[in-house]
């Protein structure tokens, strides 16, 4: 047997240990990026081989938490890919406007930047008071950061640029205050979002959603897990509800592709059929 095949057994064994010890199942994550992340953790932990992680993770919860952070922390920014937000404002907001009350699920919200970006645009469209936004992630540390609504002022310039490209009509600075050199989003925005723990791999349906946003999460899943989660979204969405994936994520390769109409190929915006 070749060494790389043995390394695969090591990784399978590690993932099995994690699943049984901590109830997190990574076995249907896209394998190649998962391997890169495990290698990244090995370097940080000063280890050489995946099997060396097994006893550490089994007996030291802190090592597992670092593993989880390594796997779950995604780079996220305010108004990343502003053309998506513009598409949202122009195509989906008018439909949301026809409902007296509507629900949005932002799945895999990480540290919350996109959820706040969305809340700002809803407020500008006069829709925020009718919206209930659920933003979920499987990393509790990320959720804690999101709940604070405080972000480094460093990226605010890029955020402002994105806000304007996304069709922002006022000044982005109207929505936050300086907070010891960082920025803090207004309470009205913060209170409009319910940040909560939810693991797409094992937790259930979030009911009756008008809009589900899950961007750049699917890329970390294999096709089987993508199908599973897409089914979860299909069951969570109302008839004619919207689904937004990352720009390079598509339902085209999924067995559930016929459950949705494609509204925007470029921005991966779909609408559930009747």
């Amino acid at each position: 047997m070749e060494l790389t095949e043995i390394a695969e057994i090591e990784i399978d064994t590690l993932l099995d240990a994690i699943r049984r010890r901590y109830d997190y199942d990574f076995s249907n994550y896209a394998r190649s990026s998962l391997k890169r992340r495990i290698n990244g953790l090995l370097i940080k932990e000063k280890l050489d081989m995946p099997y060396q992680l097994i006893p550490r993770i089994l007996y030291d919860e802190e090592v597992f938490n670092r593993f989880l952070s390594e796997l779950s922390v995604t780079v996220t920014e305010l108004y990343r890919e502003p053309e998506f937000f513009l598409n949202l404002v122009e195509s989906i907001f008018p439909v949301l406007n026809t409902y007296p009350y509507f629900k949005i699920w932002h799945a895999g919200c990480a540290t919350g930047e996109e959820a706040y970006s969305l809340a700002v645009l809803l407020k500008e469209a006069g829709l925020l008071s009718r919206a209930k936004i659920y933003a979920t992630d499987y990393n509790n540390k990320s959720i804690d950061i999101a709940k604070q609504g405080i972000y480094s002022a460093e990226n605010i310039k890029a955020g402002n640029k994105g806000y304007l490209k996304a069709g922002g009509k006022h000044s982005f600075s109207d929505y936050y205050t300086d907070h010891h050199g960082a920025i803090k989003f207004d309470d009205e925005l913060k209170n409009s979002i319910t940040f909560a723990y939810h693991n797409l791999v094992k937790d259930g349906v979030f009911g009756e959603m008008n809009l589900i946003i899950c961007r750049n999460v699917f890329i970390y899943f294999d096709t089987e897990l993508q199908n599973y989660v897409l089914n979860l979204f299909n069951e969570s969405a109302i008839s004619k509800g919207f689904l937004c994936l990352g720009n390079k994520e598509t339902i085209r390769f999924s067995i559930l592709k016929d459950k949705f109409d494609t509204l925007s190929e470029g921005n991966s915006i779909y609408r559930k059929k009747d």
Partner: protein, 196 residues
Amino acid sequence: MKNTAIEVKFIAIGVSAGGFEVLNTLVTQLPADFSLPIAIVQHRSADSSGYLAEHLDISAKIKVKDVFDKEPISPGIVYLAPPDYHLLIERGFFFSLSRDDKVNFSRPSIDVLFESAADIYRQACLAIILTGKNHDGAMGLAKIVATGGTAIVQNPGSAQASEMPIAAIKKVPTASVYTLSQITAYLITLNKNQKK
């Protein structure tokens, strides 16, 4: 030229500064019946559009496109890593994308593509480093060779930016060093030999 007896099933190309011109030359000369999949990492800014793929697709005789996540790898198509995503190969021969940290200050990174391509295709992988001003791809090329694959580097003297080819040759001294027209000829010959 090095023998093409080993059956190549996948071609990975890494290119940075000066890439537009060399890709334009290389890709447009591939014949319509080119039957191998080619994946290209061209360093470009995070907010660049799909212009590169569109332009090459119009000029080339074979299909050129930006990759979608979990897209199956088909023969005779040139796949480009989309801006701001790493491009990886998965078991079962399809692509995946990732937004993980930059590698060598780059996303997409050539090392990321080459390392995962080496994992999956092993000796059936051909990897090529073209013009560029950094060191991305050198480590990945070393892994391609370590798993039995074939390494080609553009002759630094003939490359618009020589740093990347020089770094690759330094890391992989056994790599074949060819000019761009030799590389094109190599690929065309490889394609002919595939058909026998």
